[in-house]
Symmetry: C2
Subunit: 473 residues, 2 copies
Amino acid sequence: MNPSEYPLGEPIAAIATALAPAALGVIRVSGNDSVRLLSACFSRGEALRAAPGNTLVHGWILGENGTADRIDEVMVAAYRSPKSFTGEEAAEITCHGGTATVLAVYRRLLAAGFREAERGEFAFRAFANGKTDLLRAEAIREIIGAQTETALSHAANRLAGDLSAEIRRVKESIIRARAAIGVEIEYPEEEDAESGAFDDSLVREALQALARLRDTWAAERLLQDGARVVLAGRTNAGKSSFFNTLLKEDRAIVSDVPGTTRDWLESTADFSGIPVRLFDTAGMRETGDAIEAEGVNRSRLLASEADLILYLVDSSEGLDAGDRAFLSDAARDGTPAVLVWNKDDRSDSKPLPSPLPTGARAAVRTSAKRGTGVSELVRQAAGILLEGTGGGPSGKAGQAVRAPALGSERQKRDVAAACESLEHAVSAAAAGFPMDAIEEDLSNALDHLASITGEVSGADVLDAVFSGFCVGK
Amino acid sequence: MNPSEYPLGEPIAAIATALAPAALGVIRVSGNDSVRLLSACFSRGEALRAAPGNTLVHGWILGENGTADRIDEVMVAAYRSPKSFTGEEAAEITCHGGTATVLAVYRRLLAAGFREAERGEFAFRAFANGKTDLLRAEAIREIIGAQTETALSHAANRLAGDLSAEIRRVKESIIRARAAIGVEIEYPEEEDAESGAFDDSLVREALQALARLRDTWAAERLLQDGARVVLAGRTNAGKSSFFNTLLKEDRAIVSDVPGTTRDWLESTADFSGIPVRLFDTAGMRETGDAIEAEGVNRSRLLASEADLILYLVDSSEGLDAGDRAFLSDAARDGTPAVLVWNKDDRSDSKPLPSPLPTGARAAVRTSAKRGTGVSELVRQAAGILLEGTGGGPSGKAGQAVRAPALGSERQKRDVAAACESLEHAVSAAAAGFPMDAIEEDLSNALDHLASITGEVSGADVLDAVFSGFCVGK
């Protein structure tokens, strides 16, 4: 079923937590009469039916045979309409987190009359019942998928409504501008009736705000999708230990991707808020010339698909022709590289080459052994990655108080379209077009903004947004 | 730290749900002042501090910079002492279920003053604060690890206290018997003072109840640990499709174990409540004689480690010498086998051999194609597995109303020891031993029963029980 066709009110159930052994698991239900329906398989049905909203009731989920057939001891959080996530009567059942336990409770609920929820059905109901707009619904999806704390924090601001408020503010400016035109059209003789007299300051202001928003997306997308960073360099440059240092340095989620059968190592790291997939071909070059050559080929292949290369050099050896060739190849591919002047702890460490070799956008002295220079490298790398998005090396990622930013490609498309309409309105006004033409541009811009928040959205937009959710949300 | 040394009251936090992307995640906290501590990083701190027990408060988890630094929108379930799982002041924070989200909320709580909980620390506090006995604490661990609905249901009954009540009932009988002896010892002249006059009916009754409990463990252990079942038979017997039919038939959790690099297939299935690891060497015998021979060897190896063999024969071909040899080898190893007379749908299907070949404990006609006979086979297989535990072919697994049963090896040891003491008391009484000897036996039995429930348990017992828990429970 397409999300836009999800019926409202039907009692639905979904397992809302990850299905793997844990202390607790949560199953959520929503819909008309859902608390009463749940109470039929609950040991304290009467207490549950009488429970006010936002209270917890302790009891047992019972099987078909009632108390002779206990499934699990649970806490039920009861929600009353409209004070729930969906706006409907709803409940969350917290049971023990065994896989069989969660499944047994869930099956019992289905037997009791709940239907399996579709993906995004809870969020769709929240939207359809006016509990959230599309921007905030998308922010929930973002939050669940966030890979770094920075990405999470940006999404949390959107969930809190900062972007919705910004869009509302812009809309109000445009509405006021349009109202002024309306006056002109209705009473053209009353005042200066020339179209050239249209005061476009409100429109310009709206355009400026929207253009700023539009330009936030590239950096936000980087926070969501992340970047591929490849560690390259000669065998003896110390890549393996550097790789490990980099992963240790990183305070956020770091996990080795299983699969030792691959020809490279891959891990995830947090580069100043950017989720980074870090590739290293280490382990390839320990034995034999053929394998070594193969390893270098793999490095080149990985590098050609990278967003950034960290090129390690043993600072006691310095650059050789192979290093310079690798870096200038990368430059030709358009892949930025940072020269990592490693083993800086050695007494025979050479100074950084000056000027930097072709292809190296920056250089950082590091010692994997002592762990020095690594934070600086991460900062530089994040800056270069953000620069590629127009986000600038200072980066929006690190700012404490942030201006609202966009959270999805869909939002970007609508904001960009609204910008175009406003740009058109400004040129039309400057060119002395009739007022109703300008009014149409402003109305188009408003339509795009209404689509962003979901005030007026086609089924295709709703389907695209809500089908991206997991089941249970 | 050993669980028996866990300090009570310190504010602790743990991620309680599985850490993988999902709609929701839950972090639980417990300890003195834990709600106030939590309120310091909560957007509606005052509302939370004022919240009565068993209510829900909606708000945001905030970072160090307060509202400028939102982490996630959450629901907090507030619990007031003693009405909580641990008996302490406690809370459960339900946040969005992204990995980064759950970790960020958890880290924030640690920064706010909560300590990372040790494994089983919540359950230990529940025990130490008198909210649960050891039997019910062990049942929680069982519930989380349960692999089938039957295993879950047995554990749920123990969590509900049926076993605790049974132990209490037995203890009361023994205490009454001991009190009667006390009277005899104190006033030996008053009535018939011969020790032979001791009425052992209460003790015999207690012994009977305990012996029944002791004998439940083998079948319960089978429900917890499961059994290894191997599918064997010639290449053309239809093992692969039978394997698939078996897995489809099964309504409970079925998952393929990843690892196609293995030389056999392994899946889990539910045989009338017994979690079964099902092995099939299918896929091994498609090409060449050498590989075929290797496949047969693997079958034999797997079969030698099995609890039960399902031996498939193409009923249109009937038994050959190799089949008979395999089955009699199994019988020599002491591994029971069921003869699966497969492809029963074929018109040239032969009748079942009579008598059954050596080693076949039972025979079932099946058609993997039509799916017939499979339920019957599963029932037979479960019966034979239960028989091996003394549980008998009718099986305790399927009974609607069940007598209390044991849930752990530890419980079994104590019950068996209590049985021995009571048996000794009965023989001592019969042999005319002095009353104080009998009284000592009864006291010993009571000590073992006190250890089971945790009324009097050494640190070693507590450590063994609670270190088996996961973190967050």
